[in-house]
């Protein structure tokens, strides 16, 4: 929902509600009493509401302080995951880590890569013929609106059968995150400018494949980018 429209609509709604209440109260004789709207019930509603708020305050401060999602204030500069991948220096770049690693024994010859269209794979030919395909899924800290969701990113699945390397996305998933901002009544006086959203990777991860010298991969295949030697 639109972030400006929604609060606006809500305020209009409350205005209408107050206007309706007002016209009822302004009518001579005052607030209409019905079977429900008795002094006792009105007080009950108010009291119950107050108690619920007080309880929620008690509950809030007794919630476990562990297990929360990543911080919004990680002090990383924007990491150029793409650049690091292009130069093959993912492992050496600070702030980048491997979320998943796979290793397959593979002799020599042609390697066929089957992948889902939206997956992009960086490939690098190794200097040696060690007979191993090494696949890594690399991430940098990733956030949206200042909320770090690196932990929630799932690795794709990588499988080798015969001469075919299959890369599949983790099944389509959704991440719902919540963040809290201080009320304007607090931020007006706490002096702090509203938090800057710190930079993060623009990609939700990079799949990097290192293959032995004696293995060939069809380089005309789109979606596979080769790291320049």
């Amino acid at each position: 929902m639109n972030t400006v429209l929604f609060p606006g609509l809500l305020i209009v709604l409350v205005l209408l509600l107050l206007a309706a209440l007002g016209s009822l109260t302004l009518k001579r004789g005052g607030f209409p009493a019905t079977n429900f709207l008795t002094l006792k019930n009105l007080r009950w509603v108010f009291a119950v509401y107050t108690i619920v708020l007080l309880l929620s305050m008690a509950v809030l401060y007794n919630l476990p302080q562990v297990g929360f999602s990543g911080s919004t204030r990680f002090p990383v500069a924007s990491v150029d995951l793409f650049g690091a991948a292009r130069t093959g220096k993912l492992e050496q770049t600070p702030g980048v880590f491997a979320k998943g690693k796979w290793s397959f024994d593979y002799g020599a010859g042609q390697l066929e890569i089957a992948r889902e269209p939206e997956i992009m794979i960086w490939a690098q030919r190794k200097d040696t013929e060690d007979g191993k395909l090494e696949v890594g899924f690399y991430l940098a800290k990733t956030s949206l609106e200042g909320v770090d969701y690196t932990d929630k990113i799932e690795s794709p699945s990588v499988e080798l059968s015969g001469s075919r390397l299959t890369v599949k996305n983790a099944s389509h998933y959704q991440i719902k995150l919540a963040k809290f901002t201080p009320d304007f009544t607090v931020s007006q006086f706490s002096g702090g400018a509203s938090e800057q959203i710190v930079g993060s990777s623009s990609l939700p991860g990079v799949l990097f494949l290192r293959f032995p010298k004696n293995v060939n991969i069809d380089n005309r295949q789109s979606g596979i980018l080769f790291v320049s030697q």
């Binding site: 476990p64 919004t72 901002t181 002096g191 939700p204």
Partner: protein
């Protein structure tokens, strides 16, 4: 029969206590407005999403800003209601004069405003607990989740001051309209005119004040001025019944 003596203070006190019965619909309205706002705001006041490679990420942002804003609206309305003939004639059913009626109304509005400010600020804790049980801690950014108690206190104070200001504006507007119905038309005109002139500066002086002390002084000064003018204006009004 010998005449009984009463003091202004005594009468105003009785009226003040009576108001909590007679005007309890206003307190009810406060609870309804806040609950409705919490329920509708519970889905998050703003959200952002990003998609790609099989994932959709949404971030919902929560605060009690809307609850506080709607409580400020309620306060204006409550101040206004307290000046209407209906409310005044409720005062004048029993022992009263205009001053005692004003004092008791202001006392009521202040008390209700304090309740409103505290509840609006506490609504933040309810929203947090609700989100906690809905999304689980692993999906919640820890910043600002555990509001420091001193922030809660600061929020209460500032909300109460905003609400006080709003209800005194409502009280003043209501009194003007009681003095003459012409103000129903004149007030919006004045407002437009004031916007053209320097109302913006005045609003900024309040909403952009970073010192709580100065903010309190400004808000209280304006409120006292408004309420005092209302009391002067209404002191000559007749009671229709």
């Amino acid at each position: 029969m010998s005449l009984s003596e009463t003091s202004l203070f005594q009468v105003a006190k009785r009226q003040y206590l009576y108001k909590f019965k007679a005007c309890s619909p206003l307190l009810f309205a406060l609870a309804v407005v806040q609950v409705l706002t919490i329920l509708t705001a519970q889905g998050g006041t703003s959200s952002a999403s990003t998609g790609g490679s099989g994932i959709t990420v949404s971030v919902y942002s929560y605060s009690s800003n809307l609850v506080i804003a709607n409580t400020i609206l309620w306060a204006f309305f409550a101040g206004f209601i307290c000046t209407t003939q209906t409310t005044k004639s409720i005062d004048f059913a029993y022992v009263s004069n205009r001053l005692s009626s004003n004092i008791s109304s202001i006392g009521f509005l202040l008390t209700a405003g304090i309740a409103g400010g505290v509840l609006a600020t506490l609504s933040g804790t309810l929203i947090r607990v609700m989100v906690f049980f809905k999304l689980g801690s692993k999906n919640i950014a820890p910043e600002n989740f555990f509001v420091p108690p001193q922030d809660l206190l600061l929020g209460c104070l500032a909300a109460i001051l905003y609400i006080t200001l709003s209800s005194s504006i409502g009280y003043f507007v209501g009194t003007l309209i009681q003095v003459s119905k012409a103000f129903i038309v004149l007030l919006p005109l004045f407002l437009v005119l004031a916007m053209r002139l320097s109302l913006g500066t005045l609003i900024d002086a309040v909403t952009k004040e970073n010192s709580l002390l100065l903010f309190a002084i400004k808000v209280l000064a304006i409120s006292v001025l408004l309420v005092w003018s209302s009391a002067l204006l209404s002191n000559r009004l007749e009671v229709r019944r």
